[in-house]
Amino acid sequence: MKVEASRLKVQGYTITVAVAALLSLLPENSYAMHISEGILPFNWAALWFAIAIPFVAFGLYKLKKLSNIDLSFKPLVGLMAAVVFIISCMPIPVPTAGTCSHPCGTGMSGILLGPAISILITAVALLIQALFLAHGGLSTWGANIVSMGVMGSFAGYLTFRGLRALKANLWIAGFMAGILADWATYTTTSIELASGIRGDSPFMPLFWKILIAFLPTQLPLGILEGAMTAGMVVLLYKKRPDLLVKMGVLKLEEATI
């Protein structure tokens, strides 16, 4: 038991170091929706920080609590951390728009780990990206946590749980969760950007202008994110239904294939 625990600890450290190395090596021009350094005025940046901090703190608390109860979920946290890091650094060309953007992965991690731990993973990813990749920014870290971490994770989690409660099958629930997590992220980015940069201009027209500018890229990318999320959930269901039961994604009676 002790050996297993220390092995898992070593795995945890390994993934942290490896992910840090990965992120420190990724380039500056990752194509993303992260709000860059210096874009938001100080008061708006501070507000988004204030909103993000309790969620991150709760994620930390939840991770500690779960680690004390059961160490065996750590590989799943490691896997999801790698997935969120890779996905949020992966520019995908969208031919209908002629631009590049990336899915977020937070819908998937929100479903599988719960929104709290998903937010924590995203916060760490965004911090390392801001420090080493010039991707996002330290001053806009709070805003980016709120859009990608908080909104993405909660939208994915709540959509999945809601649709499952309505007896939707795993694929449909996962697909819709992925789509809505992606779209919620970009809608929140539009809100943050419009409120931060508007100056004396009215909020709503600028918000719609930014949101509509995101649409040609994010509509198809959201569908891709939905397919990825559904694929991952269904694959885990086929390979490790016990894990989904343990994480509270499925009820025990649903886990028999």
């Binding site: 090596l25 350094e37 896997l79 920014g137 500018a213 995101f214 490790r240």
Partner: protein
């Protein structure tokens, strides 16, 4: 039978969307030569976030650490992909091979 036809439908939809995606990509890559290489395929951070911020008098500041220097960018992308893929693959194996065989052997013990 019904499941099979649904599966076929999903597969044909997938092939259709992939074909459309590939055609659009080829079209954009080959026939949009009026724009310069740097204008092609901008990220939405550039084409939306920074564009509208600039219009309203807010510009992005210099990054703290700049890794975009010559071919270093290509190298770090390759390295990043390899490291990320390794981490993901490693934990996938831990979850799908090692843990699942443990779970199976425990189940066998219980049933025997």
């Amino acid at each position: 039978m019904k499941v099979l036809s649904l599966k076929l439908k999903v597969q044909s939809c997938g092939i259709f969307f992939l074909t459309i995606f590939a055609l659009f990509t080829i079209h954009y890559s080959l026939f949009t030569d009026t724009v310069t290489a740097s204008d092609k395929w901008p990220g939405v951070d550039e084409s939306v976030v920074e564009k509208y911020a600039k219009e309203h008098g807010r510009e992005a500041r210099e990054p703290f650490i700049n890794t975009d220097q010559g071919d270093l960018l290509l190298f770090v992308f390759l390295l990043g992909g390899a490291v990320g893929g390794f981490i993901g693959g490693y934990y996938w194996r831990v979850l799908m091979v090692e843990k699942s065989s443990k779970v199976n052997s425990e189940e066998q013990k219980i049933t025997s």
